[in-house]
């Protein structure tokens, strides 16, 4: 019986390349990982947006309307909806002049209860320190 914590860290921009998107889709795939594991074993991914990566969280991305592809914003809402912790670096948001109002903070309209957590970089470090494996996207 073990839980492995996996940190999914996004420090790159959305949409031009597929990396941020793959961070989200892989993290969300944890929903079905138990079919491969023994009873009681599981993985616990969490998402961290730092540096340029915080720009993935900006509201009102129209990727689906324009390019016919799920936006990073929609993926972040899905992650919150399935109960993944989403951490956004406070200092990096501030660096870009962004606030709680400019980014996706919840998936309430889909019935989600979990909220995006804006925390200082030192708090992110603690969570990263406590995880078993680090995946940078």
């Amino acid at each position: 019986m073990a839980i492995r914590k996996l940190a999914f860290i996004v420090d790159k921009l959305p949409h031009k390349t597929e990396t941020s998107r793959l961070a989200l889709t892989h993290a969300i795939a944890s929903q079905t990982v138990e079919i491969y594991l023994e009873d009681g074993d599981n993985v616990e991914p969490f998402l961290v947006f730092i540096g340029d990566g915080v720009l993935n969280c900006v509201k009102d991305q129209k990727a689906i309307d324009i390019y016919g592809v799920t936006s990073l914003g929609m993926h972040i809402q899905n992650a919150l909806l399935v109960g993944l912790n989403v951490y956004v670096c406070k200092e990096d948001l501030e660096k870009f002049g962004l606030t709680e109002d400019s980014i996706i903070m919840d998936a309430a309209h889909l019935g989600g209860e979990l909220k995006t957590q804006i925390i200082p970089y030192t708090e992110i470090e603690k969570r990263v320190e406590a995880c078993d494996h680090l995946l940078f996207f």
Partner: protein, 98 residues
């Protein structure tokens, strides 16, 4: 020469960009290049906007990344894909993608 320069990255080695010269120079921000037209870092606008050039940002890519025309720096003209075709054929003869 009349040179139109596409910028699709936010982070890139700008040595080539800084050097480019032309009688008439246009800079077209597309894909993640649109961040140059919209975000400030520590209160500062992108150094790319300091070049002497006409600036454009693609409306569709602004919106894809969650920005509106009102978020765009006043030095930058917002154009659609449709407008862009005219810009390419009417205003510039050579085009480069950095």
């Amino acid at each position: 020469m009349r040179l139109g320069v596409f910028v699709s990255y936010f982070r890139f080695n700008t040595d080539t960009y800084d050097r480019l010269r032309a009688e008439k120079l246009g800079v077209i921000f597309v894909q993640n290049g649109v961040y140059h037209a919209t975000v400030k870092e520590n209160g500062k606008t992108s150094p790319l906007l300091e070049k002497s050039a006409d600036f454009y940002a693609l409306k569709e890519d602004l919106e894809t990344n969650g920005f509106k025309s009102s978020d765009v720096d006043s030095r930058v003209k917002v154009v659609t894909f449709n407008d862009l075709v005219d810009v390419m054929f009417n205003d510039y003869e050579k085009l480069v993608w950095l």
